[in-house]
């Protein structure tokens, strides 16, 4: 049985449709992340789940109950807000127990619940403080404690980590994941940060313009994006998009991709398409312009792969910018009139201006239709 079931939900504000026929279902204990750029409708979708905004049409079910027209307090959900939304006049203890008090839980039980979540989140020493006396990370914990104390059927997180500094954000991310693994709670989590989405989710719903473009596991969304938007949105640095022409080729698959390379005197660079990635679709597309999607990690520095095999096509590029991050080195270079980003190993000693030999691993590359931006192969 699904914990949350959204069926054909539409939402319009005036003449703009912010949610377009959204349907999705979440299993009990699942961690679903709604991700997308600002204005994509993810927060609106969350607010309709919470009951803070009415839907224009459609149905929302929690458990096996239709809650479409239930008020927020009648739905068995708790929410963690980006701004934490703690009650400034109450101390931490009162903040956590307010929801329990509203639901008429006896005092002894409330105190028990408060000390349980306080211990879980390690905020016991803060219980008598006011929110104004807490740091951002501590407020975040209290906000989570307030949600956890209620033990609702579904937790909603609305960009909970956006107001934290980078280091704390990573720490809290891990902590949220731990909590989810430990408590097995059902979570719907909104973020615009694709790294949060990748690291936390059981499933990701990528949204744009009020539609869910793709709903799948982080692995699926990352490796098998349905279109150029999803491909470009997930992953950092973004996937490289190169205009190519599909041509017939004597190689195993019978196809190759031509990159027009002005840098090398206009000569075309030919990349044989791997045979295992052959699809029916391609045969009708020979001669057409397509978009090749290559993630930064699909490039390898030539030295690095020589010992393994000669797979992939050797590409010579000139490095324009080199950004060592410590864990690896990001290289920007011109490849046939396009600036591409490649993720090289930490041992790379490339500096800007160098000629670098790269190999592109086309077995993991994706192809898109230039006009519709839909995935072809």
């Amino acid at each position: 049985m699904s914990a949350l079931n959204i069926r054909h939900v539409n939402k319009t504000f005036g003449s703009t449709q912010v949610l377009k026929d959204i349907s999705l279902a979440i299993d009990s204990g699942e961690f679903l992340i709604l991700v997308g750029p600002s204005g994509c409708g993810k927060s609106t979708l969350m607010n309709t789940i919470a009951g803070l905004e009415p839907v224009t049409s459609g149905e929302i079910r929690i458990g096996d109950e239709d809650v479409t027209w239930h008020t927020p307090s009648e739905r068995d959900i708790a929410m963690v807000f980006q701004s934490y939304a703690l009650y400034p006049s109450m101390n931490v203890r009162q903040n956590i127990s307010f929801g329990l008090e509203m639901r008429k839980m006896p005092k002894a039980q409330r105190e028990e619940a408060v000390s349980r979540v306080a211990e879980l989140l390690q905020i016991t020493p803060l219980l008598d403080r006011k929110p104004s006396q807490l740091s951002g990370g501590q407020r975040q914990r209290v906000a989570m404690g307030r949600a956890l104390a209620r033990e609702p059927q579904i937790y909603l997180f609305d960009e909970p980590l956006s107001n934290l500094d980078a280091k704390l954000r990573v720490e809290m991310r891990t902590e949220i994941k731990k909590l989810h693994q430990r408590l097995g709670t059902t979570i719907v989590y909104v973020t615009h940060d694709q790294i949060e989405a990748m690291t936390l989710a059981d499933r990701i719903a990528v949204m744009r313009d009020g539609e869910i473009l793709q709903l799948g596991t982080p692995h699926e969304v990352y490796n098998d994006p349905v279109d150029m938007f999803v491909a470009g949105f997930m992953g950092s640095p973004s996937m490289n998009f190169l205009p190519v022409t599909l041509v017939s080729h004597a190689g195993a698959s019978g196809y190759a991709l031509q990159i027009h390379d002005e840098e090398q005197g206009g000569a075309a660079l030919t990349l044989p398409w791997p045979v295992e990635r052959d699809t029916q679709e391609l045969s009708s597309r020979v001669g057409e312009r397509l978009i090749l999607g290559l993630r930064p990690e699909h490039f390898l520095e030539d030295d690095a792969i020589q010992e393994t095999s000669g797979e992939g096509t050797r590409l010579e590029v000139t490095a324009t910018v080199v950004e060592p991050t410590g864990a690896d080195t990001l290289l920007q270079a011109w490849l046939g009139g396009n600036e591409v980003t490649a993720r090289l190993g930490p041992k790379s000693r490339v500096v800007a201006g160098d000629r670098v030999a790269l190999r592109a691993d086309l077995s993991r590359a994706v192809l898109f239709d230039e006009k519709t931006q839909r995935r072809l192969a």
Binding site: A50, L52, S73, M79, A85, L86, Y87, P88, G99
Partner: protein
């Protein structure tokens, strides 16, 4: 100011000295009426007849104060200001409390339970801030008559509540606009309803704006003369009307010291309120402009 870079030339110092002299003079001019009132109220009548306005009293006497409070004649009666002072309190306290509470509720609804036309509603309410007292006199008199509240304390309370709501709503609405909606959403999800959110979440954080509203309303209503003289009955006249009756009397010897003492008594409560809560008044006016 110590934390300022400033030239230390002779001409710059002279300028500064001149500036301060001007400012101190201006301050003295503004203070002068109060000084004259206070001095006069403490003088015996002979001193007043003999000396100038600013001469110091030969003996300090509080007789004028006690007469103003207890036995001076206001029109036909000679019981001093005390009864009217209590009348004013009986008008001000409920009027301030009710108008502030209604303003807080209006502000709450206009910002946190927005409805279609909420902005229009607020804009129309704001008109109330600019309606002069005189305009509402006649319709208000008719209304009070219909309601059977003419010439009563309750009637005056009603008038002040109605007139004050525009201002109190403005104050609370602008304050509540800066309170994040997410806080209200969190309370809704926690299971709190309309009234619980108001009492438990919003009012406890409204301290600064409550102070502003109470001071504003208190001062307005306490100092009101026109509504008092128009709508009060013989037994419910506020202190401002009594002061007028006392000072404007045309019979007997003019007792300036008693008049001044009476005026001071009438003005004292608003001064006290401002001295006690003025700090919060300024703070409340700027609340929301800087994030707490």
């Amino acid at each position: 100011m110590a934390n300022m870079v400033r030239r230390h030339t002779t001409s710059a110092r002279l300028w500064r000295a001149g500036l301060y002299t001007l400012l101190i003079m201006a301050a003295l001019v503004y203070l002068l009426p109060l000084v004259v009132m206070l001095l006069t109220s403490l003088k015996p009548l002979d001193d007043i007849r003999a000396g100038g306005l600013l001469s110091l009293p030969s003996t300090i006497s509080f007789e004028a104060w006690s007469k103003a409070w207890g036995s001076a004649c206001t029109g036909m009666r000679c019981n001093g200001m005390s009864g009217y002072f209590l009348n004013s309190i009986a008008i001000v306290v409920p009027a301030v409390a009710i108008s502030s509470l209604v303003g807080a509720l209006n502000g709450y609804v206009l910002t946190k339970w927005r409805f279609r036309g909420a902005n229009l509603c607020f804009a129309l309410l704001l008109f109330g801030c600019f309606v002069p007292f005189q305009v509402v006199l006649m319709p208000m008199a008719r209304t009070l008559g219909w309601l059977g509240l003419a010439s009563s304390t309750s009637g005056l309370v009603l008038v002040h509540v109605v007139y004050g709501i525009a201002f109190t709503t403005l104050f609370f609405r602008n304050y509540y606009v800066s309170i994040p909606d997410e806080m209200i959403a969190a309370a809704k999800l926690d299971g709190a309803g309309f009234w619980r959110i108001f009492w438990r979440i919003l009012l406890p954080v409204s301290g600064p704006i409550i102070t502003v509203t109470v001071i504003w309303q208190f001062t307005q209503i306490w100092n009101d003369f026109l509504f008092g003289v128009s709508f009060a009955g013989f037994d419910s006249q506020p202190v401002t009307v009594a002061l007028n009756n006392m000072v404007n009397t045309s019979t007997g010897v003019k007792e300036y010291n008693v008049d001044m003492a009476a005026a001071m008594i009438a003005a004292l409560p608003t001064l006290v309120v401002y001295v006690l809560a003025g700090k919060y008044f300024v703070r409340g006016l700027t609340a929301g402009s800087v994030k707490g």
